[in-house]
Assembly symmetry: C2
Homo-oligomer: 189 residues x 2
């Protein structure tokens, strides 16, 4: 009997692809085992449980997204950087809906601290250097930015904007304009 050559890395990648096709909630250990031509019980040699699989998809997605954002940000500043960041974020979410959804699961603190989420946070702060905000305004602005991006992307995906004919691309770029405006002129107390 030849060995299938299953590794955690190959499992995670296949799981991520499966998630993009059928949704994270349908990423099952059994389905994955079928794809590898292996019995489901065999995967528990590589995996603690089904939850670990989803966590691994999330970590993969965080790392991939951080890479994309870093590439998009290279050599840009100010509004240019803001728009590049935002588009990298949204494009990734649209190309990889399952991976993106997996990113939203609750990571336990130490896992989160070791993830690419921190690179993410650093880059977000880097953008704001162009807007010259000091603490605690900077933290508030980071949180608002992230909220806007995540909110827009996730509402767009679940069809929250469907009832109005206006193209979402247009609303997106106007939202970025508005965000740039408010960052440029952050209201002081």
């Amino acid at each position: 009997m030849a060995r299938a050559g299953v590794t955690v890395e190959r499992l995670t990648l296949a799981a991520a692809e499966l998630a993009d096709q059928v949704g994270v909630e349908n990423v099952t250990v059994a389905a994955l085992a079928r794809q590898f031509g292996v019995k489901d019980a065999s995967l528990y040699f590589h995996l603690k449980n089904a939850h670990e699989l989803r966590v691994r998809i999330a970590l993969l997605a965080l790392a991939e997204l951080a890479d994309r954002v870093a590439a998009a940000l290279a050599g840009r500043a100010g509004k240019d950087a803001l728009v590049a960041f935002a588009n990298a974020y949204r494009d990734y979410a649209r190309e990889h809906p399952g991976r993106y959804a997996a990113m939203q699961i609750d990571l336990d603190p130490e896992t989160a601290a070791a993830s690419a989420g921190v690179r993410h946070a650093e880059m977000t702060r880097a953008i704001l250097r162009g807007y010259r905000l000091s603490e605690p305004d900077q933290t508030d602005a980071v949180r608002m930015m992230h909220s806007t991006f995540h909110g827009f992307v996730s509402l767009e995906k679940t069809g929250g904007f469907r009832h109005t004919p206006r193209p979402t691309d247009d609303s997106w770029s106007r939202t970025l304009d508005a965000l740039d405006a408010v960052l440029t002129n952050w209201p002081s107390r």
Copy 2:
């Protein structure tokens, strides 16, 4: 044998409460049947399938939230109305995490059109009357508002803000200040 007196309404309410306690993903037909002292198969007399249960939770939540927002909005205008809306939204999400999560599931178009989601949309537009925006700016602003609220609330819940010590309440009120500022001075092309 006495009848248990199960109705769709009672089922939906119990399911919503269960969702708030253990999360929507753990709202199961079997668990609900146990709560009613009934066999799981019996619930399929009232319910088409498990998915319908989640849809019903979502519709209940949409209606409840719309009621709250309407009450919060009464007699207010301008920034007052914006803040009242936002707080009603966030408070509901925090008091009812399971219901809120259920709201995010993909409703098919006709169900969505018949839901309280439309009241929601109307009220959001009503707020913007105070800011005197004309189309298509109004639609863009509505989408940005909704994105910011939803994004903030959902990142807050999944712990996306945990890594920074700044109290989320403070960031929330500054975000609303910023949103008010940008709506007051919506950037023109």
